[in-house]
Symmetry: C2
DNA sequence: AGCTTATATAAGCAAATATTTATATAGTTA
DNA sequence: TAACTATATAAATATTTGCTTATATAAGCT
């Protein structure tokens, strides 16, 4: 079975993006289901612009999809991106992060959007 | 088949280290055979301290082994490190970098050590 | 021992990155 | 249309990173 390869330059850029705990957790979360910005703000306890800028970087590489639903914008992993197969084994080895969403629900902090 | 997981914190740290093109290329090279510092200096055209500092970071996480042979120190991927299985699928998807060593040989720039 | 070669460490600096506050845009609702 | 909510963008700033030069350490050679 011939292993598909990725350009070194591109691989490094993607790994650098994933090498930030916030973005890595985001990607693991939205690999399973779409999340909106306000959820991330709650989960990570960073300012909204900070969250938006992380998402922007992921979007600039095409790693995520955004879908507007009314005033909310939902982000999810773009599984048809050419580099998804490169990232998949990484994401698969990460522990499930959905408990973070569950926590929000329990706190009742999970906002109107979801 | 249960997928082994890695702590998020640790995963992010490792990905950040691999998210540098120099270190990523180093790791791909020494996944196959040990290389010494002087080779890296030739390959990457950075100062020797710069190379040593990259290697130091990899060593601090236990990702590489160092073996002294006389005045040279050879570095190789530490395959018995607990996180090697996390990195392996990444390294496997990278294009082979051994042509860089071949180039050194052809130039005759490949130093005494090897 | 003294010189040379290979590597590591320390210190300084420049570039890149991530955060914040302030402001703009876009959609929703009264 | 005016007020409100969600998100994006811009600008300022703090932190981190990676490089360089200078210096230290360690091994080999004469």
């Amino acid at each position: 079975m011939l292993q598909t390869t990725i350009e070194m330059e591109k691989a490094a850029v993607i790994l650098k993006l994933l090498g930030d705990k916030t973005r890595l957790t985001m990607m693991k979360l939205i690999d399973k289901q779409a999340c909106c910005v306000c959820e991330f703000v709650e989960i990570f306890q960073f300012s909204q612009p900070s969250i938006s800028q992380h998402l922007r970087k992921l979007k600039d590489l095409g790693l995520v999809n955004e879908e507007r639903k009314g005033q909310w914008i939902f982000y999810s992993v773009n599984k048809s991106n050419e580099y998804y197969s490169f990232m998949k084994p990484i994401l698969d080895q990460l522990p499930d992060q959905n408990y973070k969403l569950k926590e929000l629900e329990e706190q009742g902090t999970r906002i109107s959007c979801c």
